[in-house]
Amino acid sequence: MNKVVKNADEAIQGLEDNMTIILGGFGLCGIPENSIAALVKKGVKGLTCISNNAGVDGFGLGLLLQQHQIKKMISSYVGENAEFERQLLSGELEVELIPQGTLAERCRAGAAGIPAFFTPAGYATEVADGKEVREFHGKMYVMEHWLKADFAIIKAWKGDTHGNLIFRKTTRNFNMPMAGAGKITIAEVEELVPAGELDPDQIHTPGIFVKRIFQGEKFEKRIEQRTVRPK
């Protein structure tokens, strides 16, 4: 059951041009930094990226945008990124915007084998255009489909050789529901330990959802909005 690969380069083996990738993280919090760096290095192009956000200029998915590796972004919020805006307005980049809760649930549904479900989010808005709507118990809902991808790439705090994962603080975000939504799910972790070292009661994501795991070389963990109060 050893799922350990040497590094990010090995983890993304088989990830080719024009594939669809699901990537975890919220803003720059809990993003798979090492895998993104490996994607830049590899130079794969024409990617469809499903990720809540699109990084910032010079970090996160912004690095892939810079190299024109992304054909389409599927996200809930894509501000904070001048290069993104430039590519979008020039028509180089396609964007599909999805309500955040719907995005999370569609990824979870992909991992959980639920092809479609109903949510009230977006009813009677342009998000529901062309979608089936239906009334349940006097309220209107929109039918949404699962999201699946060739690869899902997520980031956790600790992981073991069986692929079991533990997250820290608000980094669970999309990383958890995305685990298992790719044909191959890659997890990069800050600390990789032998199977048996993690308390089975404290595992957030069971290893069955993860196919490849590696310890990232370094994590910059850039902060997007540093807000503090004086000492």
């Binding site: 809760g101 608000t170 902060i223």
Partner: protein
Amino acid sequence: MLDKNGIAKRIAQELKDGYYVNLGIGIPTLVANYIPEGMDITFQSENGMLGMGPFPVEGEEDADLINAGKQTVTILEGGSYFDSATSFAMIRGEHVDLTVLGAMEVSETGDIANWKIPGKMVKGMGGAMDLVASAKNIIVAMQHVNKAGESKLLPKCSLPLTGVGCVKRIVTELAVFDVTENGFKLIERAPGVSVEEIQKATEGKLIVDGEIPEMKI
């Protein structure tokens, strides 16, 4: 007339002991500064936290602990972390008692537009569509008119909608309104603001029923 903090203070009067509350970016965030004494309120941040606390003390910020506005924050005793699917399960399942958010326009039937201006770069709806479609109680905190001086309380929204028939109450610098079957019902006037001034700034149908009290801030 209220300033931003005044609007937040007035909204804070809507809180009830034990409420779980989700605050949007902008004026809504300020509501957290005016929780009535002795009241136990828990703030949910839709990126995956209950019990959101103040910004961290300088030097203690943690890249792994942010709020939905991507700001570094802290967690209070009794708080918890969870993933985005669980977070929106809380929201969609109506476990969050109150959502306060900003708006560009609100219609007299409770529709809200706050995510997109045609012709401008669209950044996305984030969690706003889930929040407005799901919350039991939605209060809009906003300026009464836009930068061009046009009313934001309209018969019908002109901008692309975020949600329909969902706004329950609106607090602006001029007044408090309930959204009713018949239109915007004026509940309270801001200090020093007359019904006529409110009427003038409100394009949607306004219901003025009897004497309208001045709000107590």
